[in-house]
Symmetry: C3
Subunit: 365 residues, 3 copies
């Protein structure tokens, strides 16, 4: 008869006091983009840019095939960092200097590294603090797909633990948007009916707020979608953990992974803003401003802040926008200007977004 077994419980993820400025994580796993992943997310988000829907069109434009839209690229790359950085997080606070490089295709494999920049305690809550990190995703061939910084609110394992001091500067990562060459002999105009007719560079007027017409209700599908991304954070998928101590968690219920409204707002804006983009250049800042739960319906709008020429590319321009996401919640007796009676508009997400947009002069019909 054997003795009772020794029991161990391997903790996954790091807590606030584990992070050291300068520390580098080479994240486990890596991720090959399959057609299963591509389809679930591209189309969940109602992305309408034909580069992500129509391989004939994408190849005619000089891409190798269907191109991951920027929201999906972000989800795939970001999620690789979750186990090490945010498995024990309460919430993701801020995205900074998120930039895109090489296009991501089905069949590509990405691997991701993260460097810790600094770690700060919360001023009001002794069991929490903020980690500031910089992450970079590369393909098999070494090309950079994305690089970004983020600040994330992480729990402490031990409220009394000391935090590692120090401040590390972000690395300079070369990451410029790859663009196919403009081919004066190509018959772009013959494909112009496949994208929206009024979202060329010439159509954008600074200081315009475009309210996108569609909404999308998110169901508990979010649990599976989050798992498919390898995002293992327990606040998205472990209902029992929430039930044991609901007050400890945002909203006292499973919270939807922030990457989901991130990619959904990008998709909802696509017919009006993204259909004639060849890519997103960068998201200088971004943040979640309210949590999202199963059953909420998401809407988006885009503030066009400015526009400028694309250096070295007469066929393109850069549109400077802010993408805004919101939902409506019932509020007894409410009479708000920006919502129907009995409802309140709640901002959930905002993102500064610079987009490489085709000019009608070169691509339109």
């Amino acid at each position: 008869m054997s003795d009772a077994p020794r029991t161990i419980r391997k903790l996954t993820g790091n807590f606030l006091e584990d992070f050291r400025p300068g520390q580098v994580f080479r994240h486990k796993g890596g991720k090959t983009v399959t057609e299963g992943l591509f389809t679930v997310f591209t189309e969940f988000a109602m992305t309408s840019n034909p580069l992500a829907k129509n391989a004939r069109y994408a190849r005619a434009y000089g891409f190798d095939g269907l191109v991951c839209p920027p929201g999906l690229t972000m989800l795939i790359c970001f999620s690789q960092t979750v186990e090490d950085i945010s498995e024990n997080a309460r919430a993701n606070l801020e995205y900074i200097d998120m930039r895109f490089g090489a296009p991501l295709y089905v069949g590509d494999t990405i691997e991701v590294e993260t460097k810790v920049l600094n770690v700060r305690p919360s001023s009001s809550r002794p069991n929490l603090g903020i980690v500031h990190v910089q992450s970079t995703a590369r393909k098999d061939d070494g090309s950079v797909v994305m690089t970004w910084q983020r600040k994330v609110q992480v729990y402490k394992r031990d409220d009394a633990a000391e935090l590692h001091p120090g401040e590390e500067a972000p690395d300079q990562i070369a990451c410029d948007l790859w663009l196919p060459t403009y081919d004066a002999g190509a018959k772009y105009a013959e494909m112009a009916h496949l994208s929206s007719p009024d979202s060329y560079f010439e159509d954008f007027e600074p200081n315009t707020l475009i309210e996108h017409s569609r909404g999308r209700t998110v169901t508990d599908e979010h649990i599976q979608m989050t798992a498919i991304l390898d995002n293992t954070s327990q606040v998205h998928c472990n209902q029992y953990m929430i039930d044991l101590d609901p007050k400890q968690y945002v909203g006292g219920q499973l919270i939807i992974f922030g990457g989901i409204p991130f990619t959904l707002c990008l998709g909802l804006s696509s017919p009006d803003v993204g259909d004639n983009a060849l890519g997103d250049l960068c998201y200088p800042t971004g943040k979640h401003t309210a949590p999202l739960f199963a059953g909420d319906t998401v809407f988006a709008s885009t503030l066009v802040r400015g526009k400028r020429d694309y250096p070295g590319r007469d066929d393109l321009g850069i549109v400077e926008t802010t993408l805004l996401g919101h939902k409506f919640v019932r509020e007894e007796g409410a009479t708000n200007d920006d919502a129907p009676a009995g409802w309140k508009k709640v901002a959930i997400f905002e993102l500064e977004r610079e987009i490489a947009v085709k000019r009608r002069s070169h691509y339109g019909s």
Copy 2:
């Protein structure tokens, strides 16, 4: 300090008064069939024909690989027309002369065109009317995958608007079912165990009603499935819109996209009717007769109406059927002949369906 931004709201889709007989839409987007899309739908519907499950079998029969079953082909092609034709629809009323041509494979890209045939007001509801259209889907190589007509009930933007008069004849579209050549030397019989043994041409007897044994409960998965098809109609996915004015919408809740019971009934009938089909030729007429909501369980039956030889193909025959879909709803105190006590049987869908079926004499074991 900048001025308050100008706000615009781009409407998507057309309203009743926007349609003009003779008008042609070359729909945006187009769609490449991925393995993600193929798997989600083929298998959601419980399709059992090995042509859609077993690539070894499909290739041995002379196809290039797994073949989209007709319900999936219809969903992919049909959905491309939604934004222009039925984003602002209340309900799809009728399918007419739906015919199949080239087989659709993973990797193929389809693009779709629609011609408006006529526009009529509703006799009883001033804010609604009916648009009659003809659509055709083609592959990259120009081959026709499907052509069909449909009538759809669409909202008016302005109840007082005049409708465009006129009547356009449908185009004559060449669209005949592509079939692999019968190879007398092929070892079909060695694969006969992979399809059902009692669904060859010889097995069908006119004036027989086959009640298919399986049922399938549809969950709120329908929201994601509809998005994956690029079907952007808001009545399927925007719960907030419904909540604002439930009486305006069928059933006062999110309604399941009609393509879902369409493909599900085809799948449920598959073991008894479709397992030994090489393809569906045409659906002369079809219509939805009741809405479907999340939580409903779908059942199907097939009325065999007739059978005839397949011109030029001794190895095949044509089976003429009507596919019927139904569900059961609770009804206090009900004692109906065709349902258990306390339940009512509700017809949801019917479709005239002509199928190209193998003869046991040529393919059986």
Copy 3:
């Protein structure tokens, strides 16, 4: 005017009295593994072994590409047997001598055969009994992917029917785990950061119970997942059938297909036990000990029972484990040692599991 049609109802699946010892089923359909199927299941289960996530890594190890994790291989092969063996089952009771052979890749097609070993009545319930079968799955090239026995509790069509007597011995099926050759010149250590650092052969100590940290709530997603596998058993997907006679069914509600906690528990254990496995050799015994329903959260632990050398492979060892799955259910006033106050721990699944694990001496950094 035609006569009323003759109505027939084709029953699917067999009932207890239909099974004969020695009878062989060559199952219908067969199944080609698509990227859609691969992604939905691998990642649903939170599998973290890079062989199933990262094609670069899998190829560097000598595999042809992403490898189906053992839980997915089992689900695909097992489900092919459902229509013939367990469409009319109440529950799956036991897995016996489940062994793995050739790796399963995207694009492979499997076909499955089952032999009936014996059929026994239930001692207490006249409408039920147990069928004992042996099944084997092969690829197009004839290689054996899996072979296993199972015992399943099946309903009788007619309570009074006689059962077929007899006892058939299982066939001897050659099925040894395929392993890539160890290449002394390969740079395994340079990829060591992609798998967990503490799950090499050297790390396992017999008589240790590892409690895996993650939990995963299963939603009604299970209905679609089960259909995607071709598992047609009505107790997983036909809510109407349950509603008509809830007492007849386990828990009076849709029960989750046992393959789902099977693969989920394997996935939850992956970071601690499976990350450095090259494959699972065999599952000598396994069983479900409680049903799972939508909304339950699944947890897993692994008892390390022993370890031994891998014959002929210095680079590997065999770890002998028992995988245990559990959930927690609310119980008013409960004060159990192994659960928080007000909750009860319920064992749902256990599986003897022998794993081929890399040695740090050969693969570690």
